[in-house]
Symmetry: D2
Subunit: 239 residues, 4 copies
Amino acid sequence: MINVTVWNENRHEQINEAVRKVYPEGIHGTIQSFLADDFQVRTATLDEPEYGLSDEVLNSTDVLIWWGHVAHDEVSDEVVQKVKERVLNGMGLIVLHSGHFSKIFKTLMGTSCDLKWREAGEKERIWVIDPSHPIASGLGEYFELEHEEMYGEHFDIPVPDELVFTSWFEGGEVFRSGVTYRRGNGKIFYFRPGHETFPTYYNKDVQKVIANAVKWAAPVERERPVYGNAKPLEHLTIS
Amino acid sequence: MINVTVWNENRHEQINEAVRKVYPEGIHGTIQSFLADDFQVRTATLDEPEYGLSDEVLNSTDVLIWWGHVAHDEVSDEVVQKVKERVLNGMGLIVLHSGHFSKIFKTLMGTSCDLKWREAGEKERIWVIDPSHPIASGLGEYFELEHEEMYGEHFDIPVPDELVFTSWFEGGEVFRSGVTYRRGNGKIFYFRPGHETFPTYYNKDVQKVIANAVKWAAPVERERPVYGNAKPLEHLTIS
Amino acid sequence: MINVTVWNENRHEQINEAVRKVYPEGIHGTIQSFLADDFQVRTATLDEPEYGLSDEVLNSTDVLIWWGHVAHDEVSDEVVQKVKERVLNGMGLIVLHSGHFSKIFKTLMGTSCDLKWREAGEKERIWVIDPSHPIASGLGEYFELEHEEMYGEHFDIPVPDELVFTSWFEGGEVFRSGVTYRRGNGKIFYFRPGHETFPTYYNKDVQKVIANAVKWAAPVERERPVYGNAKPLEHLTIS
Amino acid sequence: MINVTVWNENRHEQINEAVRKVYPEGIHGTIQSFLADDFQVRTATLDEPEYGLSDEVLNSTDVLIWWGHVAHDEVSDEVVQKVKERVLNGMGLIVLHSGHFSKIFKTLMGTSCDLKWREAGEKERIWVIDPSHPIASGLGEYFELEHEEMYGEHFDIPVPDELVFTSWFEGGEVFRSGVTYRRGNGKIFYFRPGHETFPTYYNKDVQKVIANAVKWAAPVERERPVYGNAKPLEHLTIS
């Protein structure tokens, strides 16, 4: 069974009544709930020791889900480096919404990860661009979120390895809202929706996408390649 | 359980004693054997009615494996069109070795699919280029085939969606020997090795790759998108 | 100087007064006009001998621009095959708007090239997705067409090698409206806008995109690779 | 005219007689020489003030070429950050050989950039994988370097946006030796050859590749996209 750890900054929930009302168990709690039938799911939050990301937790995590927003800087560079190493060693990583500005996402992407945004609660329609992709399994041609924060292009990310979803926004923007990357032995999925004041993570299609992504991002069974000085595999004829 | 159909031209086996000695049950029989533990596997060959590819067979096939060489032209354009439709509707397709020149592969690629080749029985070393890819699951950094036909670049294919393997050949060439493509709802994997006079399909790593590819290429559960004239989803304000 | 041939079906212009009013010299005439300052530009149309695409014309064309709609089937398979060969040999190809269903585009793509469409004259906003791409040179973050036909996802094309533009439509759809492909030695650019009843090809940004694309698609100076049987480049040690 | 700055660590040349013999003007001097006919070329080295990379130099550089090996760590994080910003703003970057481990390349890639290596002076044959790419302009199907350091897969880089070259090594390895990436408004080309003890940068094909890459990587004329809070472009109907 795939071991999932849902990491959440968990700050909005503590200071904002409106958010707490939508997510009384925290965003992490809601995500844990809908994944619990199919996966072994733990949660971890910023205010726990080692941010809840001890070596033991990381080493036993197959897929890490990441939600953060106002406290990206409070995550130490050291733990970011450890998470990155785990990804390069094969751990899957699913970065949600405002996690686009998390240290872990930015360091794995190598770009600013900046974008346009607007908190107007407008309509978002998420179109499936790659109908053959397992992350789109079970979805219709598109699904809608009546009220969401807008994220718009240009999204300053590397060219995605795979473009699964593109969003249409009522206010006139588009956005690559579901993109995948490979880094070392690990797989990464960024998924746009999930502003803290909207009940996005209760949406059945959003839940389906995240569950599909967990299966897709689970590590492939293999050792990390060997790097460094290498003996020739063939006889060299250098004079 | 995934339904696999192994299609083989099955001509070398009938006219060439050397090939029959290596593959007494035909190349299709050997492939069926090593897949039979994990999948529901049928075979189909050129000389059967409708080339063994009736609508009933095609419609109940999740992943089609294709081996052909000297008789590509004997497969009718009509059946090629039917196979293509099935791929666009979601059926996986695994094209092996000399199948690079099959009508079905060429029509799905849109290029000549030409390459360099040499039948000298030289050494091939197949390197894993994408260690995160499920098709590379369970493999080491590379595997070797002591005696194989050489295929060399330039391989006139579209830029692959994913490059999984690259071959080194003793005679000085390289080749993109494991590549994936998406076409409509379907996934395609081309895998280079498998000259008819060598026991390549008995190699455990080759078998692992093909079994991995079957799992990877299996259809995603979804309807094909709707095309054609579409009503607006939003109110239009055109004057 | 780059030699451009603008091919147009030129049928709407002959039978539809509204189209003739917008494009009195034909769509090809308008495109020729705005390219003429920077390139050597000819036109060719369906009703000319050999559709205006003799060997002499094709062999002296660096970049071919293609507009067609109601008469795709009138272009013979033979001339489509010749154009395809020229692309594989290095000629650039720019396919416009309804050319998505042309034989030449479909045969080079290998998919149905189908899409959603609606002739309501709604607003289209074309966003730059790849700001580093030469085809986007000199453009702002987006440009708008007040009245255009809608094309919507899913667009059944192979995964583009490069995604340059994505369109937002007033009616709620999105579309990958500027995409590139490489086929053999040749480069292909598909560009969405250009319905025959709208003055799209007079738009300065649309003109800029097409001119940029001509420069981008111009052939690279080189021979086509050699294919077929190949002598070893290294000494073989086969026993 | 394109402004090129050739940055070289320039340490081997000072401490190793063998290197000085091959590159009496330094690797940067040799690269400057063969580019000087076609471009405006400056050099910059590690031991100059600000490593030769003042704001004035960076801001007037269209394409930066980077060679480093033993002193990657001596380049300050601050200057690396400035170079990265310039790339995201459009400056082209060409990273050569052992520059795969430079801070600037690693931070733009987000991976370890590790690889296999061997200093045996064996034969490398560099095959053109993408014959349509401008960086391959004027080259044959392959070119050879009689004596080079080996770099072998797995090369721990993100999936390249474009794979231009793949190397065959006498000792049995393969390597993606010419790869491109886009980051923000900027273009990046990594090119493998160039060990300091071999006369690689005097090779005419190597010189052609680097000159081609300069042209390819030159900035596109455009402003960087606007990020941050954005007003709606359409009327919002939120209740």
